[in-house]
């Protein structure tokens, strides 16, 4: 085989781990949610933000399996236009990695459609239990007490991490709190990052998270103000196109 033939036979690569795809899917949905929330009418804010958060969580949990009614499409199909259409996100029947920690979870499609709180764990008739990979197990310390603590942990393991690793850990906790609908905890974690790394490498990510958290808490004006500051400071950020189009709306 000549070197060029070897190159030709490389192919475009196999599918990355399903858990990774899922995580990225959730993060994209979260980013687009800022734009949606920014673009929604003022009166609708309180009504849409909280359900949107719920949808994100459900979408994350549900889209792994063959559940047809996952409402994640709300964010991915232009909710900024004001059209609230729940679209089926028919995730491919991805196989969970064998090594991943798997917990049985079932979700009722009807609950998704109605955006009822906390259908996770319910087992309505006719809905099979779907295996769901525990979120971010490798990257997040499994310490529930750490979730609400605003100050950075002082464990030997944490201090051994590089600066960037520490930053990522703090922001992962903030993101996870937000994914669980806890905007206050997310803000607290983000504040912890701000104290420890005011000019850190992940500052941009933190600022974006803070905008999301403020929206989750219904602090809309603050969120918009911060979103504008973000767009000004990071005109080339990957978040900026979504934010700008949202800010452009009345």
């Amino acid at each position: 085989m000549t070197p060029l033939q070897a190159l030709k036979s490389l192919g475009t690569g196999s599918e990355p781990p399903a858990a990774v795809k899922q995580r990225v899917r959730e993060r994209i949905a979260g980013s687009l949610a800022i734009a949606s929330a920014l673009g929604a009418g003022a009166g609708a804010a309180a009504a849409t933000v909280a359900p949107a958060r719920r949808v994100a969580e459900l979408g994350f949990l549900a889209s792994r399996g063959k559940l047809a009614a996952a409402a994640l499409g709300l964010w991915l199909s232009g909710a900024a236009t004001g059209v609230v259409a729940y679209r089926a996100w028919q995730g491919d029947a991805e196989k969970a990695p064998a090594s991943a920690h798997v917990v049985p979870v079932s979700v009722a499609p009807s609950a998704l459609a109605a955006i009822e709180p906390a259908p996770v764990g319910l087992a309505p008739p006719g809905v099979e239990a779907l295996p769901v990979v525990a979120e971010r197990a490798p990257r997040t310390p499994a310490s529930p007490s750490a979730r609400s603590a605003a100050s950075p942990p002082a464990t030997p393991a944490a201090s051994a991490l590089s600066g960037l690793g520490r930053e990522r850990q703090l922001l992962d906790r903030a993101r996870e709190a937000l994914a669980h609908g806890d905007g206050s905890a997310a803000l607290a974690e983000a504040a912890g990052h701000e104290r420890a790394f005011p000019q850190g490498a992940l500052r941009e990510e933190r600022l974006a998270l803070q905008v999301r958290a403020l929206f989750a808490l219904g602090r809309r004006d603050e969120a918009r103000e911060r979103a504008r500051a973000f767009v000004t400071e990071f005109p080339n950020s990957f978040l900026t196109p979504a934010l700008e189009s949202a800010l452009a709306e009345p």
């Binding site: 192919g11 475009t12 690569g13 196999s14 990225v24 899917r25 199909s77 990957f238």
Partner: protein, 187 residues
């Protein structure tokens, strides 16, 4: 999924008339974008961030996609742009020069399999040593089989430049293969 082409590794239909939805693109092309970024030098720990970045841009620009053109080169242009910007950040430079040692390892296998695997690993490694602009053209043409006019168009470069990059990329690549073989003691 109206435009399901059957998943990864399958070439897009040449005459796509319906613009795919963002969800479809994400579902079908996540792996494609992932590996494109990886081969364009983004280290594993930052792949997630960059894939997210690319898909958000795809989302923002989807209205500009011409559905009659193949999807993958269009996606590739976002990936190449993201990888170039990533590399331009000074803090990322050091680690890009490091060659992951596991690429040179090989698990025990049937001899033929082993040789094939080593050849492919060598190809990946040599590819990683071609400069980014040339590598993009090389990947689109040699690995994915896209025509040069398509590649020039999607990368926004003159056709002559594209051909020139391809020629130089092949030279760089083959030189890298020779150098790596010599390092292994194969001569």
């Amino acid at each position: 999924m109206a435009n399901n082409q059957g998943g990864m590794g399958v070439q897009q239909a040449p005459q796509r008339v319906v613009t795919p939805t963002f969800e479809e693109i994400f579902e079908l092309e996540f792996g494609y974008v992932w590996h494109a970024l990886r081969r364009l030098g983004v280290p594993a720990r930052d792949l997630e961030d960059l894939v997210q970045h690319v898909f958000l841009q795809v989302h923002a620009q989807l209205a500009k996609f011409d559905a009659e053109r193949p999807l993958r080169p269009w996606l590739f242009a976002f990936a190449l742009n993201a990888a170039s910007n990533y590399r331009a950040l000074k803090r990322h430079r050091v680690e890009l020069a490091v060659v992951p040692p596991e690429l040179m390892d090989a698990r025990p296998a049937a001899e033929e399999q082993l040789i094939l695997k080593q050849e492919l690993q060598l190809a990946e490694l040599a590819l990683s040593q071609v400069s980014l602009d040339r590598r993009g053209v090389l990947m689109l043409h040699e690995i994915e089989g896209h025509g040069m006019p398509e590649i020039a168009e999607v990368l926004g470069i003159p056709l002559n430049t594209a051909y020139s990059r391809l020629r130089l990329a092949r030279q760089d690549y083959e030189r890298a293969v020779r150098r790596l073989r010599a390092q292994r003691g194969e001569g």
